[in-house]
Symmetry: C2
Subunit: 571 residues, 2 copies
């Protein structure tokens, strides 16, 4: 394509309201334009990228045996009432009435619609398993849309829903989707990790998020330095320290810590490392017999509420005890609690349980104790994993240590079980002609978000650097002063024709702009391979080539240039 | 693909609420399923067709030089206020508030959005002309959605908008779109006609509708029997009869026609053909001097309000005179008006003006006159084309006669002029650095509607017959009792593998269904080429082939079968 036929809408200035790099570059390179809060127009360059992302996803979904469907953006609220989500889903579900005052919503997701379709269309176990996907516009009325298309209100999603007679079949399709997602993100040219995610009440190995690794990511991902293990920090298991706990060497001693409440203040005052102290938090208990329970973690560790909440003794949803409850249970305020002499259940993190001669609150305002030891001075009702992993922890897979990096969630696969099929009574006849509730899985990819994530991972100070598989054009031709030099024009046109005939996607910059403008535009919009044709090169029988990630351009003999370029493109 | 991996959801019964054949067959063949009034899920078979239609449209739009963009489904009402359409557009525009109480609508069309985008992004005449298209979900809150996806509320449209410095450039892009649309509907395999359409206030040759010809069409299209001429019946010119008007032979005579008001009643009573009488209608005039004017057409012709409204003497919008006005102007009621002695402007249709010795109302209740003649008895203030063409009229192109058929509008191209660019002040700098309002064109294709229209034109009593370019599968393989015969299974699998390897889209019916069920399913879903593999054929070294439109299957020697099939597929 010629730039004269393409809306190249680049700007030098970084828009002030764009804080993440992908948002800035998508605006500057003319990929998107805002229409209203959280609503974006995709310009021609952006649509070219979007369509390539969609094509890769569609191919791999088809390859996996999933069937493409298309469900409406506008959904009747009746089905949301039936599933119970009409109540659960907050104001992100944009609801409205049609001209006949019937209730509808803009679909943020399509579980209800597909389950309704399947309960009507699929009658027999013989038709299962089945996996249906669509690539469709979604809407979530985010209270504060931000980061451009990374968290917009209207966006494109690939969502898929699978239906099964049993958990084994669900697991098989889930595994196939896991593989398909790996193929998709690999083909998209992204550095990504499948990450174990929270499955809520389902438990087990039933949920993975796919994260593109990038500093701007919103999520912390825990990796092993020596294996494929990756999990959301909140979900990664903090394993018990190896070996026996060291024996007690100190006597239990009360020390005054006047007005020192936080771990930092106490450690400063007592000249301690945080690793020598334990943090004791009182939270609501699960039953009336134990309305308050204590959670103990090492001073430098953070309590993980998701893990704690799953314990039988802890109330769900997780809630901190009130000041009154703390005073009643521990006889002091929050800053002075400790496990010694505490007369409520004490749940101790595995690492804290491995400490000896530790410091903790004395359950008396303004005092701590030193030289505390488990069993001798304090009793752990339960030892459990209740903290977040930190860098350097042993990996729960058994190999290597934990490393933490930031990720952008671009995909999520999830074993739904029978949540929706039960609510909507989606049954089929099994082999014994009995009606049976279906098992379901769901599998999403944020299509528009993938484009932003690709940029977060691939840019420099000049602009975007597209992965080859989703670049809007593979090659750009920049002719020097073409409008003054018939030779340059002829050579550039010939190159354009030749490459186009080979099926290569070429952007031919035929504008009458200064070379500097053309170079920075092509760098900004991120075309991987640049060819410069000018008088000097023609005189010397050379063509200038530059790979977008290289610092320097190189002169290549015209003679073998096409072979040279083809080799570059195949890389 | 194997039917065991595809949701084949066919039914024998014709759904009672589906009145047009495409709606019936799309439901019966499992192409679509209703979700709510005017909202449909597209099942896997349907999506395959939809994607092919989209691909053809996208290819030809790209070939024409149009640039693909993507604009949000959800649109801010501010822009609709600015264009003035917030007032003009009725309840078909579904409006709602977001969580911050800001006003939005679901886009039924995108003129405002693209004009806003262009006024911000395009600064100079050097960037023009430009034509932007998208393939996107649209929503119109139809009061009575019907005919399935033919008139649904949510639908997919290809809409394009072009921008120009002047009318010549607009005309050029318009002509290119005209050609692109012809290529698109030809490639879709449809019998269609580009039809001149009403341009409203723009006038000229600035609007064409593309109609798929089908008996169920909602529009009447006038064709020439001898040329490419086609126009909406309401727009086709009714040309003047050839030759001189016959001389008067009868004397003007008043006859009593008691209680005879309609043309039919009067003709019956006087034993006349309708061609011997004229119909005189009083309508509101355009200025105060002539608050009422008369319109005269031949008794068997129909007044065309659109044509009449365009005349200077006639009020716009067109409105019939009230009973009081009629009595005041003609001295009688509506059933007895005639041009003889009428003291208001009389506009006479070209054909009516060619009549002599005609019958008309006497402007006296219960009386008509016979033997009336123009000039001698009545004066035509103006002779003009104010009627609908009828079958047998000479074609206005000069060749052949008018034929009328029904059509389904699937595309529309339109020269918008500066309606939106003026309202939204979309200007660019012209060559003299002056700010200049843009000219616009718009070009739509109803993507989902095309699928229904293709069926309206291609079906029989067994089901759909897909055009080859949009069929979900080109070939189906139906094995006989495969689950009992390893020979048949092996031969069918081999055929499936061989055809698939050749890049042919094959549907392999590997279900354990009776042959009759498989045959009728394959006929119903409309696969053009059917291959049957059974024991008997294998014994005889033959494969059964049937083209969907043929009555009879034929046995083809296994030896040359592949060449035979390839020849059929290339047709």
């Amino acid at each position: 394509m010629r730039t004269s036929n393409l809306l190249i809408s680049t700007t030098r200035e970084t828009p002030s309201d764009a804080v993440v790099i992908s948002h800035q570059l998508m605006l500057r390179a003319g990929i998107i334009r805002p229409l209203a809060g959280g609503l974006y127009n995709w310009l021609p360059l952006g649509v070219r990228v979007l369509r390539k992302v969609e094509a890769i996803i569609r191919e791999e979904m088809n390859r996996s045996g999933a069937q493409e469907v298309l469900m409406p953006v506008v959904q009747p609220m009746e089905l949301w009432e039936e599933s119970g989500r009409a109540q659960d889903y907050g104001p992100e579900l944009l609801r409205f009435k049609d001209r006949h005052q019937r209730d509808f919503a803009l679909g943020p997701t399509h579980e209800e619609i597909i389950t309704d379709l399947v309960r009507k269309e699929i009658r027999s176990y013989k038709q299962l398993p089945a996996n249906f996907f669509q690539i469709q516009t979604k809407f979530r009325d985010e209270i504060r849309p931000r980061f451009g298309v990374m968290r917009s209100r209207e966006f494109i999603m690939k969502d898929a829903y699978s239906f099964h007679m049993d958990r084994e079949s669900l697991q098989q399709t889930y595994d196939e989707m896991f593989d398909a997602y790996n193929r998709i993100f690999t083909r998209l040219g992204l550095d990504f990790r499948p990450v174990q995610a929270d499955t809520g009440s389902i438990g087990g190995d039933g949920s993975h998020e796919f994260h593109v690794l990038a500093e701007s990511g919103e999520d912390d991902i825990a990796f092993s330095t020596a294996s494929d293990f990756a999990a959301n920090v909140e979900l990664a298991e903090a394993v018990a320290p190896k070996g026996e706990r060291a024996a007690a060497t100190e006597a239990l001693t009360e020390v005054a810590t006047p007005n020192k409440h936080s771990i930092e203040e106490v450690c400063d005052f007592l000249q301690l490392k945080k690793k020598k102290i334990v943090k004791t938090l009182l939270v609501k208990g699960a039953d009336e017999k134990h309305p308050v329970v204590a959670l103990v973690v090492r001073g430098d560790h953070e309590l993980n509420e998701i893990k704690a909440e799953k314990l039988d003794l802890v109330a769900e949803p997780f809630e901190m005890a009130s000041d009154e409850e703390i005073l009643a249970a521990a006889g002091c305020n929050a800053g002075s609690i400790g496990p010694v002499g505490l007369n409520i259940p004490v749940i101790v993190d595995r690492t804290a349980a491995h400490m000896s001669d530790f410091v903790c609150g004395a359950n008396k305002d303004g005092f701590h104790v030193t030289g505390a030891n488990w069993d001798r001075d304090a009793t752990a009702t339960l030892v459990a994993d209740i903290r977040n992993v930190v860098k350097g922890d042993p990996s729960p897979c058994g190999n290597g240590k934990i490393e933490i990096r930031r990720g952008i969630e671009v995909g999520h696969i999830f074993q739904l079980g029978n949540k929706y099929s039960t609510a909507l009574n989606a049954t089929v006849q099994n082999e014994n002609s009995r009606s049976q509730i279906l098992e379901m899985g769901c599998y999403g990819i944020g299509v528009t978000r993938v484009v932003a994530a690709a940029i977060e991972q691939n840019f420099d100070d000049k602009g975007i650097i597209w992965p080859e598989s989703i670049t809007p054009f593979q090659v750009c031709i920049v002719p020097m002063q073409m409008h003054k030099s018939p030779r340059v024009k002829e050579a550039a046109e010939a190159m354009y024709q030749e490459l186009t005939a080979k099926g290569i996607e070429v952007l031919f910059d035929d504008r009458s702009e200064r070379p500097g403008v053309m170079f920075s535009d092509m760098d900004l919009i991120g075309i991987p391979h640049r060819i410069v044709i000018g008088e000097r090169g023609l005189d010397n029988g050379q063509i200038e080539y530059k790979y977008r990630r290289d610092e320097q351009a190189q002169d290549v003999a015209t003679e073998g240039f096409m072979d040279f370029l083809m080799a570059k493109l195949e890389k």
